[in-house]
Symmetry: C2
Subunit: 393 residues, 2 copies
C-alpha cells in the first residue's frame, strides 16, 4: 500500500423526497444568492424543477437560472455561467442533473475567481487557486460520480477537445441523492451510467500496487452490486432498491475511497475522452466498447493476468482454473460482455457509426505522436493503441 | 435501504513517516496554541514523542502537554484538560494515541465551551452545542475508529459508569495514520483492537433492514480483511502490509460509511460498556467474550438465521448448507471462535476473573429493570440478557 491522503467532506443526503430540503440545506450552508443550473426539459416534465423552485422560494433565497447543459458539457456555457455569477453576485451554485451539469458548475465555481479565460484552468495551463464558489447538487443521473468527486471534465466544441481539471477544494459541499428521481431515465442512459461507474471502479482496481486488500474488496463489492442491480433496474425502472444501490455505487466508485494507496490506470477514460472529443457518443457507450477489448488484449499480457483472474473469480464468480489463469480471466471478460450486450450497450465502434479514419490521430494524441505511453496497469504505446482500436472496430 | 445522511470530512494522512508532518498540518488548519494529549510512557520509549515535539517546534507552534490517559478514559482527566485549555488559551487539541486519548480530546473539545460540568454532556443530560475546539490525531492503536468517528466514550470511575456522546461536529479535522507506529503494540492489544473493529462492522451488519447490498459488501470486505491480516500481524509484528490493512479497516469500520441506510444493533457494545464499567477489562476482550455467545444464541432465533448464514458464507467461506441455514450460521461462529482463541483473546467471563455476582445488576441496567429491550437485530429483554450472560460464563 502506498502512502496516501484522502478527504471527502461532501454531505450526502440520501433517500426518498430529499430534494424538498434543498432550500433549507442551502440556507444552512450560508447561501443567499443561488444560480440554479440544469440541462433541458426533463426536470420540468418530471416536476423536479417545480419542487426545487418551491424549496428555494420557501427558504427565501434569491436565485437565477441557467439551463442548456448538454452531455459532454461545453466551455461556452461555463463562460456564460461565469458572467451571470459576476453580474448577479451569486454566492452558491446549485447543479440539478448528472455529471455534465455538476461539472459545468465545478468549472464555473473556480472560473468566477479567475480573471482570464476559464479554459486556462480546464486545459491545465493555469492551476486553480483556492477561491471558489460552493457547489451543491441534486443528482438525477448516477454515472460520473461528480456529486462527490474532486474533478470535472469539459469540452471545447470548437477544437474537439475534451479535458478536465481538479482540486481538493472542488468537491460539492452537499449532494442530495433521491433514487426515485432516476425512475424516468431512459434504459440506455441507465446502462451507460452503470458502465461509467464500473469503469471508475476498474480504473483503480487494475493496478500492480501490492497489498491493497481492503480497497480491492470494496471495489469488488461496488462492481458486484452494479452487476446485480443493473438488469433489475432495466427490467423494472421504478425498483427503488435497485436504483438506490446503483446511485450509492456511482458515488463510492468515484469519490476515490477505492483509489487510496494505489497506482491508478485511467487508460480507458483517456481513450474515451479522445473518441468522444471527435464523435458525440455517450461516455458510457465509449467505455462499453473499449473496456472489454482492453481486457481481452491484457489477458494476453502475463503481468496483467493475475489481477484479471482475481476480478473474474471475485466479481463474476468464475470458477478458478488453477492450470490456466488467463482462461479464468477470459471467462470474466465474457461475462462482462454478455452483461453489457443484454443492457443494450454497443460492443464495437462500428455499431455507433465510427470508422477507422481517426485511429492514427487518436493514437498520436494519446502518446504525443508516439513519444510516451498511456496507462499504468499496462503502458500503451502508439502501436498498442492502434492494435486496441482495431480490436474495437 | 432507509433514508440517511452521511458526512465525514476528516482528512486521512496515511503512510510511512507521516507523523513528521503534524506541525505543518496543524498550522495549515490554523492552529497556534496546541494541547498535546497522550497516555503513558510508550510514545516516549518508541521515539514518537520526540518526533511530535520536534515537528510542533519546527512549525513554531506553542504547546502544552497532558499525559496520563488510561484505557476506559476517565472524566477526571477530561476535566483537567478543560482547565488547561481555558488557562492557556488552547486553540487546537492533538491526540496522540488510541481511542482513549482521542475520546478524551473529543470530550474536552466540547467541554471547554460548556460552562457547567462536562459530565452533563457525556451522560446525555445536556446536548452538545456547535462550539468546540478542533481535534487532530496521530493514531497509534487501530481499534476504536475514533480517528474519524463522531462520538466518544468516557468513564466516571467514581460511579462505575461508562457512557458516551456524539455530534456531527465531533469528527477530527485530520488524522495521521502511520502503520509503522503499531509495530510495537503488544499482541494482546493488537488482537483486542481487531476484535473491536470487527464488532463495529458487525453492530451495523446484523440488521433486518432490507436492500443494503452495497454496505453489506463493504462490511464483509472489512471483516474478511481483518480476519486475514490479524494472524499475520501477530506472527510478524512489523509486517507493514498487514498493519496497514488493519489500520484502514479500523477507520472504515467505524466512520459509519457501512451504517448508511440501515438500522444498527449495538447490543454487544452496550453490554460490554456495562461489564467494563464494573470490571476494568479491555474493551476488545469484553467483545470477544460476548460476540460469539450472542451469535450462538441468535442461531436459535429464526429471524436472525438468514443474515448469520450470509455472514458465514461470505466472510468465512463456509459452504452453504441449503437444507439447514442455522448449521451454516453456526459454522461461521465456530470459525470466529477459533480465530479469537488463536489470537489469545478470552472466550468466557471466567477467564478474565468475572463471576456471576453482577449479572442481575447488568441486566437491570441495560433494560431499566426489565422495562425495555436492548438491541435491534434481536431485542434482548432482561431474561435474554441473563441467559446470554450465563452462556458467557
Amino acid at each position: 500500500m502506498n502512502n496516501f491522503e484522502f478527504q471527502c467532506g461532501t454531505k450526502m443526503i440520501f433517500g426518498k423526497g430529499t430534494e424538498q430540503r434543498v432550500g433549507e440545506e442551502l440556507k444552512s450552508f450560508g447561501a443567499s444568492r443561488v444560480l440554479f443550473v440544469y440541462g433541458g426539459s426533463s426536470i420540468k416534465k418530471s416536476g423536479l424543477y417545480d419542487r426545487v423552485v418551491k424549496s428555494l422560494t420557501d427558504a427565501g433565497l434569491y436565485f437565477e437560472e441557467l439551463a442548456g447543459v448538454v452531455p459532454n458539457p461545453r466551455v461556452s456555457l461555463v463562460r456564460r455561467g461565469i458572467s451571470i455569477c459576476r453580474e448577479k453576485g451569486i454566492d452558491f451554485l446549485l447543479a440539478v442533473g448528472g455529471g455534465s451539469v455538476i461539472d459545468t458548475c465545478k468549472a464555473m465555481s473556480f472560473g468566477v475567481y479567475y480573471k482570464e479565460d476559464v479554459w486556462d484552468l480546464i486545459s491545465g495551463k493555469v492551476r486553480p487557486g483556492t477561491q471558489r464558489l460552493p457547489v451543491a447538487t441534486i443528482l438525477t443521473l448516477p454515472a460520473a460520480g461528480s456529486e462527490e468527486s474532486d474533478s470535472c471534465v469539459i469540452s471545447d466544441e470548437t477544437i474537439s477537445v475534451k479535458t478536465g481539471f481538479g482540486s481538493p477544494l472542488m468537491r460539492p459541499v452537499f449532494s442530495i441523492m433521491n433514487p426515485e428521481l432516476t425512475y424516468t431515465l431512459p434504459p440506455y442512459q441507465t446502462a451507460c451510467g452503470c458502465m461509467d461507474m464500473m469503469s471508475h471502479a476498474m480504473e483503480r482496481y487494475f493496478s500492480h500496487t501490492e497489498n491493497v486488500e481492503m480497497t480491492d474488496r470494496v471495489t469488488e463489492g461496488i462492481l458486484a452490486t452494479v452487476i446485480h442491480n443493473l438488469p433489475i433496474a432495466l427490467e423494472k425502472p421504478d425498483d427503488y432498491a435497485a436504483r438506490a444501490e446503483i446511485m450509492l455505487c456511482g458515488t463510492w466508485a468515484q469519490n476515490d475511497m477505492t483509489g487510496c494507496g494505489r497506482e491508478q490506470d485511467w487508460f480507458n477514460h483517456g481513450l474515451e475522452h479522445q473518441i468522444s472529443g471527435f464523435y458525440d457518443i455517450a461516455h458510457g457507450a465509449g467505455l462499453a466498447i473499449s473496456t472489454p477489448a482492453w481486457m481481452e488484449m491484457l489477458c494476453e499480457k502475463e503481468q496483467c493476468v493475475p489481477k484479471l483472474a482475481q476480478y473474474a473469480v471475485r466479481v463474476w464468480n468464475v470458477p478458478e482454473n488453477p492450470e490456466d489463469a488467463a482462461e479464468t480471466a477470459k471467462e470474466g471478460v465474457k461475462k462482462l460482455r454478455s452483461l453489457l450486450r443484454a443492457a443494450g450497450l454497443p460492443q464495437s465502434l462500428g455499431e455507433v457509426g465510427i470508422g477507422t479514419e481517426r485511429f492514427e490521430e487518436i493514437a498520436d494524441n494519446m502518446t504525443d505522436g508516439g513519444s510516451h505511453t498511456c496507462g499504468a496497469f499496462y503502458p500503451f504505446g502508439k502501436k498498442d493503441i492502434l492494435e486496441l482500436l482495431n480490436r474495437m472496430e
